[in-house]
């Protein structure tokens, strides 16, 4: 019964997506505006199908209907209700179902959001693209990843329940949906990018349409990654939060390209440049989410996260190849229209910094992709088995991270177009002292070693820069200055800086040791007294829990434990963490002692600043939220592509009323150095005017402009 109902939902979604593609294709071809409106109906129907299938699957899970294949794999009468609910996304088929639900929800949301513009070909093509993606994923549910297959089970059958690792901590419930909201969210900007290429409207329109969608997807992806790190820290017994595991790498790859996009998009909005690059980044981000799904869902790479394969792998790889081909083909086809009208005047400018930023993010993505697939490449080449792990990734990404911190410090104070050293010296003075103070403070607190100290210094520098911008914009506009992309971006920077500091500190100064202690015995380690007090055993329907009582510094008792899951026979450690803002003491019980009265083996790991990671994640999410508000509009009459006099600016008369605003930022004469942020001339711009942001005077620099 549940099988047939669920399958009906999937079939409805598949059919609606297919019909949606046909309807929109016909409508776009015949320019039938009335027909285009039908796209919305199809989107809503597909969403309804996916929602219905998901509800049915939850019903099957809750009622433990083991005749449904997926339930017989991950369901169990012993699983507590909440983890049973979350069992939906604990294995391959269910996680594709969740993916489909989020995806079709987004398609429906797009159709509703743009309901007044459904007859616009840009929106039509975007919706069509989204239907194609939906059809693919619905197809997976009908074919190789069908969770609703009917099976016959013997009477009294009880399933194994979800993977024991996924029923140990509530974070296992929130982390995957967040991640999927992020992954799937990039379908919207991707669809609009494709639509822009197909319709030839490759200007800034599609970017502005999808700005918030991209930010929301980015925010969810970031939160998903941070929550995943938190989950692994709380659940896996090794005191780490990031292991450069292939699945973690797969999630961070699109994050890097998306972050690069969020930055470089500003060059295009402001200056109309980098069109090809931005389209490529959006498409690469989407393609990487598919590639990541392939890597982790097809079983080609071994990982603690990977689900075992089935025939889904080749399909995902084929889809990835198709996306890449279509994108490259379209960009090649539209090549001539993608030529940028503007130019970058000087590397020492906001544009130049964004370019450097993009280079580093691309390098990050390249290193991680290469390291992840390298063992596969070597094995294909000469059959040798090699591993690429944490030491490689840490070594390669550390210098890139440092460079990023440095850019985060310098870039926010750079004006568009061109900056001089005098201007930089003035604006960077206090942020740089922030960096100096950070180094001094770190040394006073006992930090040592060149690399971490430089990281702390750069972090302080970058934080100073971000704070400077926040102070300037709130001083100028009061509370209103807190909202908008410019300021939100700076808050995001602060969050990322905090994460970077936590990463540097916890990986440089972690200490671990293993002790075998008799009850009542105390070990002293890294300044902590760790006393083992005894052990307790508790029986649950699904597991037996063995908890050791460990007292830290004579204070509170912590209980690292081991769960033995009866059905699978697996033993899962449950660490216990004494957490504080300065650092954590992480305890694991290494094995269940044979003699419960006898000695126990306990691992102690101390790491500074770990909670800063979660705090940084929170601040990043908050900053993303602020960025969603419309920011202060810049003066639409200030041309940003007007040529500036690169070599004559020194002689320019600052009092000349006809001087171009672009020249103000050229930075050779302190008086002419009007801060483009408006810091020194608060009331200059006509802030209140809500002119369309697209107003530009690019024509003056366009080659062949009529003269």
């Amino acid at each position: 019964m549940n099988s047939s109902l669920g399958l009906a939902g999937v079939a409805l979604g598949t059919a609606s997506s297919a019909v949606g593609i046909i309807v929109l294709a016909v409508a776009l071809r015949t320019r039938n505006r009335a027909l285009m409106q039908q796209g919305r109906t199809m989107a809503l129907l597909a969403f309804f199908g996916a929602l219905f299938a998901t509800v049915i699957m939850e019903r099957a899970l809750i009622t433990r209907d083991f005749t449904v294949d997926y339930v017989s794999q991950v369901g169990s009468s012993r699983t507590p209700a909440l983890y049973n609910f979350a069992a939906l996304w604990s294995s391959l088929e269910g996680s594709i179902l969740l993916w489909v639900l989020v995806l079709s929800g987004l398609v429906a949301l797009t159709a509703v959001r743009f309901r007044k513009r459904l007859d616009d070909p840009l929106v039509g093509w975007a919706l069509l693209t989204m239907f194609v993606v939906s059809l693919f994923f619905f197809g997976l549910l009908l074919g190789p990843a069908n969770p609703f297959t009917q099976v016959t089970v013997p009477p009294g059958f009880d399933g194994p329940g979800p993977d024991p690792l996924l029923q140990n901590h509530p974070l296992a419930m929130v982390h995957p949906p967040m991640l999927y909201l992020g992954y799937v969210g990039f379908t919207v900007p991707f669809a609009f990018a494709i639509a822009a290429l197909v319709t030839g409207r490759v200007g800034e329109g599609w970017l502005l349409e999808t700005r918030r969608w991209t930010l929301v997807a980015w925010g969810f992806l970031t939160l998903g990654i941070v929550l995943g790190a938190w989950w692994s820290y709380e659940v896996l017994g090794w005191g780490g939060y990031w292991a450069w595991d292939p699945v973690e790498n797969a999630s961070i790859l699109p994050w890097f390209t998306a972050t690069a996009f969020i930055h470089s998009v500003m060059i295009q909005e402001r200056r109309g440049m980098l069109r090809v690059w931005n389209l490529s980044l959006v498409c690469a981000t989407f393609a990487l989410t598919i590639l990541g799904t392939f890597l982790t869902r097809s079983g080609v790479i071994e990982s603690v996260h990977a689900f075992s394969g089935g025939s889904i792998g080749p399909l995902l790889l084929g889809f990835f190849a198709a996306i890449t081909l279509v994108t490259v083909g379209l960009i090649g086809w539209r090549g001539d229209q993608l030529r940028s009208p503007g130019r970058i005047d000087s590397p020492l400018s906001r544009e130049g910094a964004f370019l450097a930023n993009n280079l580093i993010f691309a390098a990050f993505a390249f290193v991680i992709l290469l390291g992840t697939v390298f063992p596969l490449l070597v094995e294909a080449y000469d059959g040798r088995a090699v591993s690429v792990g944490e030491p490689y990734f840490n070594r390669m990404t550390m210098p890139l991270g440092m460079l990023l911190l440095f850019l985060m410090a310098v870039a926010p104070v750079l004006p568009w177009r061109k900056a001089g050293t005098e201007l930089l010296s003035k604006r960077l003075q206090w942020p740089a002292w922030g960096g100096g103070l950070a180094v001094v403070l770190a040394v006073l607190l006992g930090a040592y070693g060149l690399a971490p100290l430089i990281a702390f210094g750069l972090a302080g520098f970058a934080a100073g820069s971000a704070l400077r911008q926040v102070v300037l914009s709130t001083r100028r506009q009061g509370f209103r200055g807190f909202l908008g992309r410019t300021n939100g971006g700076m808050i995001v920077h602060l969050g990322i800086i905090i994460i970077a500091v936590a990463f540097a500190a916890s990986s440089s100064y972690s200490r671990e040791a293993e002790f075998t202690l008799e009850p009542g015995q105390t070990a002293n380690f890294a300044g902590y007294d760790v006393t083992y007090e005894g052990i307790e055993v508790e029986e649950f329907p699904e597991k037996r829990l063995t908890r050791a009582q460990v007292r830290i510094n004579g204070g509170q008792v912590y209980e690292p434990a081991i769960s033995n899951f009866a059905f699978t026979g697996r033993a899962i450690g449950e660490p216990s963490v004494r957490t504080s803002i300065t650092g954590d003491v992480f305890l694991t019980l290494l094995r269940v002692p044979e003699d419960l009265e006898g000695p126990a083996a306990i691992r102690v790991i101390t790491q500074p600043l770990v909670p800063w990671l979660w705090l940084g994640g929170l601040i990043t999410g908050f900053g993303t939220l602020l960025s969603l508000f419309p920011g202060r509009r810049r003066d639409p009459l200030r041309p940003t592509s007007e040529p500036i006099e690169l070599d004559q600016s020194e002689s320019a008369d600052p009092g000349d009323p006809s001087r171009s605003p672009g020249r103000e930022a050229s930075g050779t004469n302190p008086d002419a150095n009007a801060d483009p942020d408006g810091a020194t001339q608060p009331d200059r711009s006509v802030d209140g005017t809500r002119a369309p942001i697209g107003v530009r005077f690019q024509a003056v620099t366009e080659p062949g402009a009529p003269s």
């Binding site: 896996l236 017994g237 090794w238 292991a243 595991d245 292939p246 440049m273 980098l274 071994e302 990982s303 603690v304 940028s340 130019r343 970058i344 590397p347 130049g352 370019l355 280079l359 390098a363 390249f366 290469l370 390298f374 070597v378 000469d382 040798r384 088995a385 090699v386 591993s387 690429v388 792990g389 944490e390 490689y392 390669m396 010296s425 003075q429 002292w433 960096g435 100096g436 180094v439 001094v440 770190a442 040394v443 040592y448 060149l450 100290l453 210094g457 200490r511 671990e512 040791a513 293993e514 290494l590 009459l637 041309p639 040529p643 006809s658 005077f697 366009e702 080659p703 062949g704 402009a705």
Partner: protein, 156 residues
């Protein structure tokens, strides 16, 4: 550059240099515990899926950790310890690929890619490149047009 600001930068440089010097002196030689930890992070647990012996809770990982600690205490060098485990479990027990041979590519390729990328951006930025000057000239008529439009808007 005005004098007081220049002084401030020099002072900052001095402060940072002194702090870094003190911070580097404070770093003692690596303790045996630290070495054991570093080596265990670079050796893969042979029975787990992609975890180092430092991260794994498997019994064999605990055994190898203890073995590494013993060897470190016995005064073996890092290289000797890596070679021992490589001999026992094969090349893929090492999580840090060799710098030589085919695996050297994983170290070299990113450096080459970054250098090429930087070169590409540099060329694009230089005059005549895709992002540099494109040879467009602005005539007096263009300027007049722009200032007329802007002037008109400013006045209204």
């Amino acid at each position: 550059m005005n004098v007081s600001r220049r002084l401030s930068w020099v002072a900052l440089g001095l402060v940072v240099a002194i702090a870094l010097f003190v911070g580097m002196r404070a770093e003692g030689p690596r303790s045996n515990l630290q070495r054991t930890q570093d080596i265990s992070e670079a050796i893969r647990c042979p029975e787990c899926r992609g975890q180092s012996v430092a991260d794994s809770e498997a019994a064999i990982a605990a055994e190898i950790r203890a073995g590494i600690a013993r060897r470190v205490d016995a005064g073996e060098t890092d290289a000797q310890i890596y070679d021992f485990y490589r001999g026992q479990f094969g090349d893929d027990v090492l999580l840090r690929p060799d710098a030589g041979g085919i695996t050297g590519l994983v170290w070299i390729l990113p450096v080459i890619a970054i250098a090429l990328g930087a070169l590409g951006v540099g060329l694009a930025l230089s005059r005549g490149g895709a992002l540099g000057g494109n040879g467009a000239s602005v005539s007096a008529a263009d300027r007049e047009l722009v200032s007329a439009v802007r002037g008109g808007a400013d006045g209204s």
